[in-house]
Amino acid sequence: MLSVILIPVLPLLGFAVQAFFGRRLPRGGDFVPLGCIGIAFLLSLRIFIEALTAYSADWKMLFGPFVWLDLESHQISVGLLVDNITAVMLMVVTVVSFLVHLYSTSYMHGDEKYSRFFGFLGIFSFSMLGLVIVDNFLLLYVFWELVGLSSYLLIGFWFERDAPANASKKAFLTNRVGDLGFFVGIMILFWKVGAFDFQSVYDGIAAGKVSGWLLTAAGLCLFCGAIGKSAQFPLHVWLPDAMEGPTPVSALIHAATMVAAGVYMVTRMFPILTPDAMVVIAYIGAITALLGSTIAVAQYDIKRVLAYSTISQLGYMIMGLGVGAYVAGFFHLVTHAAFKACLFLGSGSVIHAMHDAYHGDHDVDEQDMRNMGGLRKQMPVTFATFLLATVALAGVPLTSGFLSKDAILAGALGFGGFAHPQHFLIPLFGFAAAFLTAYYMFRLVFVTFYGEPADERVSHAHESPRAMTIPLVVLASLSLWFFYSLNPVGQGWFYDLVKEPPQVALMDAQVSLPATTPNTEAAMMTAGGSHDDPAHRAHYPAMALSILLAAGGIFLAYKRYYNNQKAMMAHEAKLLETSWLFRALHNKWYFDEMYSASFIRGTMALRSALSWFDTWIIDGIVNLSAYFARALAWIQGLADRKIVDGLVNLVADSIIEAGGQLRRVQTGRIQTYVILLLAGMIVLMIARMVV
């Protein structure tokens, strides 16, 4: 119990120490949060080993419930839940967080808000770790918002500049849109079930307390939260802007952990999703996957490419969950956390080197990959790790990305290709995104690391210090297959530990999914499973297809960018003029513009209309009544002046007159007063004696 509580509390402690003493400690106090997250990592490791040795899908530790609030009619209790999913999440979060802390000691070195940065990292780690260990939706929501807050703080870390300040606001507000849905979803469940904790909600739904369209609505509302937090279409717009934050933050929050919170949340609410809701989720995921990967093709900012890649990969995870490939979706979260964090940290390393190389030349965009080139010679470690992570992201065999992505694609193909041909778009989008992912990632690698340096100064770039390369190496090695499964095409321990929960919502479903779909993983695991199982049938075709597509993407990128980056960049610049498609991609499908034209302009138009209404109608009425009041007041004023004032003046004049007479008594000589006083007293006494 204590050790579980300590895992989130330690980073909070680090935050507190940083907040109050950070600046006064040596080295800005960075060792405090680093140590805290290190211990949290060891504690998580213990739990993880416990889960591994138990080696049972049912393994769980439950603490509580403790009554938090007694409302007579309802008791709101909270508790902690550590099961296999939590154990895995704890590992992911603490490993990435620890490495990012370590990396930041070097990357943020010399920043004047150095210690504050570590404090923010601490509060983020606290929120994220708290988010994964709670056992109920209410606390999940609390930590969800805390995560959003710390994300806001970290994106806007360099708030002196406009761009990060605006980006943090955008991220916060966009998330708010999703969180509203999340909250409504929680409230629907609480209204019907009367409890917040996961198990009671599952049981309540299994007992039929919520059903039909309301359950679908609840599921979709909850999913709205995930749309916001995991940057799914149509709320994905904040994530690329969030790249204005420091790069370690991008790696920690906007690649590995926080954005994964949405996916984690979907895994938690998976049992209550109705088939209808799942189809919607699958579509959203598929659209996001394709959308992100298409935009990434036409970006030049190294971090933005990775941001859109993240959006696309999160779409994959959501799609995987939506099509019922529960384990695959969650598995992809884990593998993606490692290699995407590695990619971001690698990009940070590159940016760091570029910053040194260009010596803060403000005319040069240090993050624009057109200003890089040929870095593989100067930065061998960064290059090697970046390449490995890229390969994993592209889904090349022998990497972790291959294992998880392939499983998702197999699930999608099984769902959309075999089981429900009317949903063929989902696997289509998925495979298209797989191809594009391989393409744009290798475009990034070739332009950044191969060819000639774009500028003479770039050739003097040098490798980043040890504190930055060690996390890269660790994360890159975590992108290899054998951590997850000894069989490079099979399924390892992960599939034994994480089992799809029973679908409580399915009982009432009138539509669509046949009972086979939720059992995708079970069937995939046992090679001798039923041959009618669509996911099983899809397994090998999907694998073959994805390898083929990845190879195709890599090859295309190689053809276009390997030798002639300069020419291709010039070509793309021309494309930007001539091709509407490329322009649209470069401008992110004009999502920002659309939102600005619809929601923001709409709000503004409504504001103008209301303003007009206020000015002419409300003010008109007010002014009219004011005229009446003025007329009335004029009449009253007349009466006042002539009659009331006359009386008042009369009284005042007589008082002034009386005062003028009386003031002669006031001589200012105390002794006269004393005599008069005594005389008065004597008169009173005599009067008393006589009467």
Binding site: Q671, T672, I675, L678, A679, M681, I682, M685, I686
Partner: protein, 169 residues
């Protein structure tokens, strides 16, 4: 006439006589010194009434404190050669008339009131019981008096200090 009666009349005479000097003395400095005797006479009356502590306080505070203050006041408000200056009087006749009527009235009341007399207790040292009362029943007035003295101290030094030339009165 018993000795005690004689003593009383002696003290009463000192008190009243020096009081007369205070009022009618031509020189201010004489008046101040006559006041000294008035205070002593009053202290004697206190002793006669069995109030030894009050008598001690009278001597200490009035003679030791207030009178010295008065002397300082006289010295500081008159140049040293002006000590001869006559203490002038104003409105003398009408004041005497009013005060005379007042005194007559008082005397009438005093003599015509049937006083409920209690047989005086034997004179004993009152210091202990006064101390007890001050620390128990009268502790609040006692503390307030202490605060008052402190305030008077600070106020007096503020008023009399030469620094606050801009402070007007």
């Amino acid at each position: 006439m018993a000795l005690s009666t004689l003593t009383f009349y002696l003290f009463a005479l000192i008190t009243v006589g020096s009081g007369v000097v205070v009022v009618f003395a031509n020189r201010l400095i004489h008046a101040v010194f006559a006041l000294l005797f008035t205070f002593f006479g009053t202290a004697g009356l206190y002793v006669f009434l069995g109030a030894d502590f009050v008598a001690g306080a009278q001597v200490l505070v009035y003679v030791g404190g207030i009178l010295v203050l008065m002397l300082f006041g006289v010295m500081l408000t008159n140049r040293i050669y002006d000590l001869q200056i006559l203490a002038e009087r104003v409105h003398f006749k009408r004041s005497v008339a009013v005060v005379g009527v007042g005194f007559a009235l008082l005397a009438t009341i005093i003599f015509r009131t049937p006083w409920q007399m209690v047989e005086g207790v034997e004179p004993a040292s009152t210091t202990v019981s006064i101390g007890r009362l001050l620390m128990s029943e009268y502790v609040l007035p006692f503390e307030i008096a202490a605060m008052l003295l402190l305030a008077a101290l600070i106020g007096a030094s503020m008023l009399a200090s030469r620094d606050n030339e801009e402070g007007d009165l």
